[in-house]
């Protein structure tokens, strides 16, 4: 007999290990989308219970209560209450708790109970609690709460076996239990009394060791030290960027030679002509030049996910709160801004954790100034072509240093812009509060991290396969047609549509040292920044033949002056060249106005920065 799909929902406070439990249950069988009408990420996964029941599980945004004071928390509330549009009421709610830290979750659970939904309390990370000497009387806890309780170790193989068995047992008798919802928003007095009730139950059922986690205290003594902590933060960021630049190189070289071999294979097998040119120059060298950056994107996401899992991100927010406050930013903006180093889109979406509208708007406006991973291909290409790979002071790679400098330039300008916004536009308002749990440090969960990195890498490749691919085809087309007249002596590309467009834009871009090839590359770069690299590759490949396609960096070194290269770097710090980012800004702010504001201010900054850089460089003899 085929039973209908069982719907589970994971609810818990932030840091309860909800996501690692979700990953443990579903593995890579996950679907990430948005809830209709809002930009809250909807994560759904699937698994089969030991008794063969098909289960869908939704990982709801973390929350401390059902009051719904942000769009994320409203989703969690509406979903549990069955009011979320287009969603099925969950058959069973799994309330996930960090076993080492039950206070806040038990209070949340007492509130959840009022909704009448069938529920299980999952004591996650039970191994860590045991190791710390915390003992929980599970049976008594279940009796006092009136809710089945099960322990789990999301990160261990078989650590969720009890949970799966219990899910089967409960789902077998679900239909018999009618649900009645008695939930309504709690008053302050009710909140207080539920917290008291939670504390009483915990005192009855849980015995805590006399000393708290010493590791967290020891690490925090250094990491949260007012001065030492900032030095540690700077070191972490520095290592992160050196690693992204240095460690990824061998893998990138490998990918690159792979695509080169493939390109030559096509060149040798197919007869010369349009098809050969399309496959080799348009498809393989174009898409290949973007996929080459996969190792760097994997590394940057790896770092961000590791720091988040370890529990460091909240500390970074703590350290940066007042410093960013000086620039008019909220401490919570640190995490969205740090995510923007990977990509501004998740960064801008992550600003939902900032519940004050104006703080949030400022963060959204400056997030695109953080150096996203799509800029890495452009930076890498130009740096490796123009900056010598020698060591300075014996141990620091000069190329890495320039890269670091570009990141610093992005951050500094972001803080400056934020300061100006605060000064001119959003004066005189009291700063929104900064309240954040600093979770105990945990060893990062490798499997969970692997799934996270895999999901992101898949998204990047998907983009490379769709948006970037179609842009490359367009560029190839623009660069190949119309074909040169018979007997023409100039390179074929000089007769193409690309040259016509590029040359039309050239007068505008000449003051900043850009030639028409750059102008051509900047247009498809609007679709995605990294496409500019591929576009340059295509433009110069068609112009210079096969050798040029293989050595785009070397070609640039001969075609561009150092001043042009530096001007291009300066341009890319600011340029608003990412249609998807602009689209997300429009969606998140709900207005075209802020999208237009972002586009304009970034374009003006880019042009100004390039103008200054180019002219200074020329004056210093780099022209």
């Amino acid at each position: 007999m085929e039973l209908p799909l069982l719907h589970l929902a994971l609810v818990g406070t932030p840091n309860s290990g909800k996501t690692s439990l979700f990953n443990a249950l579903t593995g890579s069988r996950q679907k990430v989308a948005n809830y209709p009408g809002v930009t809250v990420e909807r994560k759904e996964g699937f698994f089969v219970t030991p008794q063969g029941r098909q289960v869908s599980v939704v990982d709801l945004p973390g929350t401390y209560s059902l009051r719904g004071r942000s769009p994320d928390e409203e989703i969690t509330r509406d979903f549990v209450l069955g009011k979320a549009s287009g969603e099925t009421v969950p058959d069973l709610v799994l309330c996930v708790a960090d076993s080492t830290n039950l206070r806040l979750t038990i209070r949340l659970l007492l509130e959840l109970k009022r909704t009448g939904r069938p529920m299980i309390l999952v004591l996650n990370m039970f191994d860590i609690a045991t190791r710390r000497g915390i003992t929980v009387d599970v049976e008594r806890l279940a009796k006092e709460l009136g809710v089945p309780v099960v322990t789990s170790i999301a990160v261990r193989k078989g650590g969720t076996a009890d949970l799966l068995t219990l899910t089967d047992e409960i789902s077998a008798r679900l239909a018999a239990e009618p649900a009645e919802n008695n939930w309504r928003a709690l008053s302050v007095a009710e909140l207080r009394s539920t917290q008291r009730e939670a504390d009483r139950i915990i005192a009855d059922c849980v015995s805590l060791p006399s000393r708290p986690d010493t590791w967290t205290a020891r690490i925090d003594a250094v990491v949260l030290h007012p001065v030492g902590g900032l030095i540690v933060l700077a070191l972490i960021l520095f290592v992160m960027f050196q690693a992204v630049f240095a460690w990824a190189q061998p893998l990138m070289d490998l990918l690159k030679s792979g695509f080169d071999v493939l390109g030559e294979l096509v060149h040798d097998t197919l007869p010369a002509g349009l098809l050969q040119s399309f496959l080799q120059n348009g498809v393989i060298s174009g898409v290949g030049s973007v996929i080459v950056f996969l190792p760097q994107i994997i590394l940057i996401f790896l770092f961000i996910l590791l720091l988040e899992d370890f529990g460091y991100m909240a500390r970074a927010a703590f350290l940066m709160d007042r410093i960013m406050g000086g620039a008019g930013l909220h401490g919570r903006a640190f995490i969205p801004l740090l995510s923007s180093f990977a990509c501004a889109i998740p960064g801008i979406m992550a600003t939902r954790v900032i519940d004050n509208k104006r703080d949030r708007l400022t963060t959204i406006l400056i997030a695109p100034l953080m150096t996203c991973s799509a800029r890495i291909p452009v930076y890498t290409l130009i740096i490796s072509a123009f900056i010598p790979a020698r060591d300075v002071w014996g141990f620091i790679n000069l190329q890495g240093l320039v890269m670091f400098g570009l990141y610093v330039a992005g951050i500094t300008s972001a803080l400056l812009v934020s300061f100006l916004i605060k000064f001119f536009m959003l004066r005189d308002y009291a700063p929104a509060p900064f309240m954040l749990e600093l979770p105990d440090y945990k060893m990062p969960r490798l499997k969970s991290i692997a799934i996270g990195v895999y999901t992101r890498a898949k998204m990047f490749l998907h983009r490379a396969g769709t948006t970037i691919f179609s842009m490359m085809v367009l560029i190839w087309f623009l660069a190949s047609f119309p074909q040169p007249p018979a007997g023409a002596t100039e390179p074929a590309i000089n007769f193409s549509l690309a040259a016509i467009i590029g040359k039309a834009l050239e007068p505008l871009l000449a003051p900043v040292g850009f030639n028409w090839q750059i102008a051509v590359a900047l247009i498809p770069g609007m679709a995605a920044r990294e496409v500019a690299v591929a576009a340059l590759g295509t433009v110069y490949a068609i112009e210079g033949g096969k050798e040029a396609a293989e050595q785009i960096g070397q070609v640039l070194a001969t075609k561009w002056s150092l001043a042009t290269a530096l001007s291009m770097l300066a341009w890319y710090i600011f340029a608003p060249q990412c249609a998807s980012t602009l689209a997300v800004i429009r969606r998140e702010t709900g207005s075209w106005r802020w999208m237009a504001v972002t586009f304009t201010y970034m374009l003006v900054l880019a042009y100004a920065a390039s103008l200054v850089t180019y002219n200074v460089a020329v004056a210093l003899g780099a022209g």
Binding site: R103, V188, D199, L224, P226, D321, R322, G331, P433, M435
Partner: protein, 91 residues
């Protein structure tokens, strides 16, 4: 030794320095200068475990103006700005 709280002066947690330990006496969200309404501030503090009787210890302070502070509240650590911590009366 634990019952000395009656004799210790009541003060807002927002004025406590690093190393201070005490017990929460009550919450008073009025006139803290927070951007939140009184009820909202009080609700959020309770949701993060700041309830009467909880033991607090100021573990860390930020660099600029000793702000924000990291506070141990019974078994968890919460980062909060001094402005909001003014609503928590300890002794």
């Amino acid at each position: 030794m634990t019952d000395t709280n009656d004799t210790r002066p009541h003060m807002p947690l927002g004025l406590a320095l690093r190393g201070y330990t005490g017990v929460i006496q009550h919450l008073s969200a009025r006139d803290t200068g927070s951007a939140l309404s009184d009820i909202e501030l009080e609700s959020r503090l309770i949701e993060l475990g700041f309830v009467e009787g909880a033991r607090v210890e100021v573990l860390h302070e930020g660099l600029v103006g000793r702000d924000p502070i990291a506070v141990r509240v019974d078994s968890i650590t919460i980062a909060v700005r001094r402005r909001e911590a003014m609503a928590i009366i300890v002794a």
